[in-house]
Each structure stands twice: as structure tokens, then as C-alpha cells.
């Protein structure tokens, strides 16, 4: 039964042979642990977009409503008008995942360095998935929470280290003044 026929749609959908997309998704932490069937559900809500070289994915200050996964290509994350490079991401890497949970303004600008195929996962679709497939939605949300917890722990450590460095620096400057 063909996929594009009307009844083909009703009585069953043939498995798509786009294995590359599953290989990309399997690398993303929030999709780890999903079954093949669940991966197919995720694939159905993803939006594949092709960006040309130097095309902007989103601008700093825009309302953030979802995350992007690089299927193929390279994207630079830059800050401010001087376009200070924060990160350069390529195949299988992702960014903007916090926007899946709350609509906060983008903190940086994302620009395609070369022609890139990008997969977008958006808050509205994720919420829809939570409604229609709560079990799978919970798996994704748990992974997302774990990822954010890991990042928070890492930020705390970094914060602690910075604080220690500042006190050490203040100590040495005070000692220097005394001598």
C-alpha cells in the first residue's frame, strides 16, 4: 500500500526509510531511551528547515519557542552587535532547548555558517505530544529536567570556583597593598 494514497493513510503507514533522522535523534540526550515507535512520533512533530549560508535562525531578543537540532551543517551562536562567537555547533548538536519549557527571549543570535539542514522541535508540538502520548512526553520531560539539573550543577560549580577566585584575588590585592 502506498503512503500517498488516501486509504493507505487510513489503514497503515509504511515505515519510512529515513534512518538518518533517527541516528541524529538518538544522539540528542532528551530523546535517549525512546523506542523506535516513539522516535517515529518525535519525527512526525519535527520541522525540517534548510538555511542558506549566513541566514539567521533566530535573533537575540526574539521570543524563544523551541529548540533546534543540526541534522547537517554548521551554526554559530553569536552575541551582541559585535557578533562575539559563543559556540560553533555542527552535525547532531542542538541549541535553544530551554525555550521548550518557557517562552523566554533568546539570549543570543544563531546564524548558519554554511547551507544547513536543521530540525526544529517546538513547545506547542511538545505540549501536544504530552496530551496524546503522556508516557513518551514524560520520558522527554524527565530527560530535559535531568539535562537542566546537570547544567545547574555545572553552573553552581563554576559559580563556586569564580567566587573562590574572587576572594583569592581580593586577598592578594589586600596583601599587596599592605606590603
Amino acid at each position: 500500500m502506498q503512503d500517498d494514497t488516501m486509504w493507505g493513510n487510513i489503514f497503515g503507514r509504511e515505515e519510512k526509510t529515513e534512518y538518518s533522522i533517527y541516528a541524529v535523534l538518538a544522539k540528542i540526550p532528551i530523546f535517549r531511551g525512546l523506542t523506535k515507535r516513539e522516535m517515529r512520533s518525535v519525527e512526525r512533530i519535527l520541522h525540517r528547515r534548510i538555511y542558506k549560508e549566513k541566514e539567521v535562525l533566530f535573533k537575540e531578543g526574539d521570543p524563544g519557542v523551541g529548540m533546534y537540532i543540526i541534522e547537517k551543517g554548521r551554526v554559530n551562536i553569536v552575541l551582541g552587535t559585535e557578533e562575539k562567537l559563543l559556540a560553533s555547533l555542527s552535525n547532531g548538536e542542538f541549541f535553544g532547548e530551554i525555550a521548550l519549557l518557557s517562552e523566554i527571549p533568546r539570549t543570543a543570535t544563531a546564524v548558519a555558517v554554511m547551507e544547513s539542514s536543521i530540525l526544529g522541535l517546538f513547545q506547542s508540538d511538545l505540549f501536544g505530544l504530552l496530551e496524546t502520548n503522556p508516557g513518551m512526553g514524560n520520558k522527554i520531560l524527565l530527560k530535559l529536567a535531568q539535562m537542566i539539573a546537570d547544567r545547574l550543577r555545572f553552573s553552581n560549580i563554576e559559580n563556586q570556583q569564580l567566587k573562590e577566585k574572587i576572594t583569592e584575588f581580593e586577598k592578594t590585592t589586600k596583601d599587596g597593598k599592605k606590603t
Binding site: N9, I10, F11, I45, H47, R48, R49, Y51, E55, V56, L57, F58, K59, G61, D62, P63, V65, G66, G120, F122, Q123, S124, G128, E131, T132, N133, P134
Partner: protein, 376 residues
């Protein structure tokens, strides 16, 4: 000079495009009505499909199951109420056409029984239709004597009354040969609604894929916001109409009002139009009672029954259906109902308010998004 010419040309093009859109809307009004009803039906049923999907069914299975249940419900209600509805409709048709034909029949009968007399003197006595005519004659005399600026030929109330009653009966008579197209619509609407319910999400994804990268995120965001606001509103309207309809049918049934099934259904549907709807729903019941019984106590009961139904709606139903997100100004409602009626008839009047709600929410969300994304 070139700039002015360019602007003028652009203006002409915009006017032309608007005229074409208007013409298309008018010409395809029947198809547009079918599409709007199907889309509304699919949209109202969407949460049920999502619920079934959450229970492990695929979207296709969920949509099929919903439509099988829906067909069973409609079939069962037709089996239970269909005969009664048909009898009420044909009785209504007979009584309206009777007003028109009774005069002619009466005159013929008189001429047959008393051939020597002109029949005119006998015609002046005793019959209720004759009373109506005399009343209209008196009215005419009163108007022409007291308001001399009105020419008597302009008044001619009898002619107008006859035109009005025959107009109604013609509309209802025309309704019967239209059964074929009604059945067509009854088949097409569920068919379109089924595919919109089954493939709606895929269609939305497809539509979004055509949006340029620059506006893509904004479009997704706007569609989601519109969905959040309209979902509750439209489903609320539907549930409210259903509850009011059922309550009205029960209340009018208890009060033994003639044609209570049709009148109750009309009251439920009319309730979708704010301000005017609740009153418009009660008017047919009052008219029918006036025409058949003329019992003033019954009228008081009917008005009280409608007041109680409205009270139940205001206290229990409205807070539950959460339709407050789309607050339309009374003037917008009145104009929307008039425009809907002009383009799409009675059905257009009913669909006008939800459509105005859709247009309001869409333009508002679009405007907010355009501002947020610094596009203007």
C-alpha cells in the same frame, strides 16, 4: 511623478484583488459554508481524538471511531426524533400555506353553494381568516385617514400580509426538492470533517513548511496561541448550544408547545448569537402559542421557562465553558450577524459570531507577534 503613478497602480491592484476575493466569497458561499462547518466540527472533535490517541489508538483509528459513534448517535436520534421532526415541519408548512389559500377556497365554496349571491356579504361573516382581512382593512383605513401623507396604494396591508405568508410557505416548499442537495451536504460535511480531523496536524505541518524561514517560528507561535484561545471558545459555544437546545426542548415539551422539537433546537442554535440569540430563541415559541392557543397564562409559562434556561446557562454552563477569552463588542456582533446573513443566509448569521471571534483572535495574535519579532 513615477512614485505617484506607482502608488495609484498599487491601489488599483489592491482594490482589484479585494473585489476578486469578495466575488469569490459570494460565488463560492455554499462551498465556503460547508468548509467552515466541517472545520468547526473537526476542531470541536479534536480533543476526543487526542484523548483516544493517548489511550493508544492511532490518529486514523481515533478519527474513524469518533465518526462511527457520531453516525450511530445521529442515526439513533433520527430514528427517535426524525418522524416527529418531519411531522412538525410538514404541519408547519401546511399551516403557513393554509393562511394564503383559505381565502380563495372559502370564496369558491361560497360561490358554489350560493350561485345567485355575489358571495361578498357571506364572506364578511364569521370566519377567522375573514376577521384577519377585516382587521387589516381597518388598519389600512386608520393609516390613510390619520397619516394623510401616505398614499393608500402604498399601504395595501392585505397584499403585503399575503406576500409575507406565501413567502414563508414558498421557502418551506422549496426546502423539500432541495432534499437532494441537503443529503449531499450531509454526506460532504462529515467526509471533509473526517479528513480534517485525521490529517489536520499533518496539513498544519505542511502549511508551516511553506512559510519562509524568517517568519516560520513566529507563524508556529501565532498558530499555537490562536489554537489555545479559540479551542476553548468554539468548543464552549458548541457545548452551550447543545445544553440550551436540550433544556429548551424539554421545557417546551413539558409545556406542550406545538413544534417543540424544532423550536427548542432553534433556541439552542440561536443562543450562539449573543444578546439577540436568547430573545430570538423565545420568539417562535411565543408566536406558535399565540397562533394556536392564545392562552396568556401559557405565554407567561413559556417566557419563565426561557428565563430559567438562560439563568441555568449564566450560572452553571457559561463559567464551565470558558468562552470569555473572545470578548466581542456588541456592535461587532450586530454587524457580523448582518454581514453573515447577507452573504450566507440564516446559517451565515449563526456562523457569524464564531467567525468574527476567529478573525479577532487571529488578527490580535498576529499583531502582537509582529511587534514582538520587530517586523514593524
Amino acid at each position: 511623478m513615477d512614485l505617484t503613478l506607482g502608488r495609484f497602480l498599487r491601489f488599483i491592484i489592491v482594490v482589484f484583488v479585494l473585489a476578486v476575493i469578495g466575488w469569490l466569497l459570494y460565488t463560492l458561499s455554499n462551498i465556503i459554508t460547508i468548509v467552515i462547518i466541517s472545520a468547526l466540527l473537526a476542531y470541536i472533535l479534536d480533543p476526543f481524538a487526542s484523548y483516544l490517541e493517548a489511550r493508544g489508538l492511532s490518529r486514523s483509528q481515533a478519527a474513524s471511531l469518533i465518526f462511527i459513534v457520531l453516525i450511530l448517535i445521529i442515526g439513533l436520534s433520527t430514528w427517535l426524533l426524525g418522524g416527529k421532526l418531519y411531522r412538525e415541519l410538514s404541519s408547519l408548512q401546511q399551516s403557513t400555506s393554509m393562511i394564503d389559500s383559505s381565502r380563495v377556497n372559502l370564496q369558491d365554496e361560497i360561490k358554489e353553494t350560493i350561485p345567485d349571491s355575489s358571495g361578498a356579504s357571506l364572506f364578511q361573516t364569521g370566519n377567522s381568516t375573514e376577521k384577519e382581512i377585516r382587521f387589516l382593512d381597518d388598519m389600512e383605513n386608520f393609516i390613510t385617514t390619520n397619516f394623510s401623507f401616505i398614499v393608500s396604494s402604498q399601504v395595501n396591508l392585505q397584499e403585503k400580509f399575503r406576500g409575507f405568508t406565501s413567502g414563508i410557505s414558498e421557502q418551506i416548499v422549496a426546502f423539500i426538492p432541495n432534499m437532494v442537495s441537503i443529503i449531499m451536504v450531509l454526506v460532504i460535511i462529515p467526509f471533509v470533517a473526517f479528513f480534517l480531523l485525521k490529517d489536520g496536524k499533518e496539513m498544519k505541518k505542511q502549511f508551516v513548511s511553506y512559510v519562509p524561514n524568517r517568519y516560520f517560528e513566529m507563524t508556529l507561535n501565532v498558530l499555537h496561541k490562536i489554537d489555545m484561545q479559540l479551542g476553548g471558545y468554539l468548543r464552549g459555544q458548541f457545548i452551550e448550544a447543545l445544553i440550551i437546545g436540550v433544556l429548551s426542548v424539554i421545557a417546551l415539551g413539558i409545556l406542550q408547545v406545538k413544534y417543540f422539537t424544532i423550536i427548542g433546537m432553534i433556541a439552542g442554535l440561536a443562543n450562539m448569537v449573543p444578546y439577540v440569540g436568547p430573545v430570538a430563541g423565545a420568539v417562535p415559541a411565543i408566536f406558535v402559542t399565540l397562533a394556536n392557543d392564545g392562552d396568556s397564562m401559557k405565554l407567561i409559562y413559556i417566557v419563565s421557562a426561557f428565563a430559567i434556561v438562560q439563568l441555568i446557562d449564566n450560572i452553571f454552563v457559561q463559567p464551565l465553558v470558558l468562552s470569555k477569552s473572545v470578548n466581542l463588542h456588541p456592535l461587532i456582533i450586530v454587524f457580523a450577524v448582518l454581514i453573515g446573513g447577507q452573504f450566507f443566509g440564516l446559517l451565515g448569521m449563526l456562523l457569524a459570531v464564531p467567525t468574527a471571534g476567529i478573525i479577532k483572535v487571529t488578527s490580535m495574535e498576529l499583531y502582537i507577534a509582529i511587534r514582538k519579532y520587530n517586523l514593524i
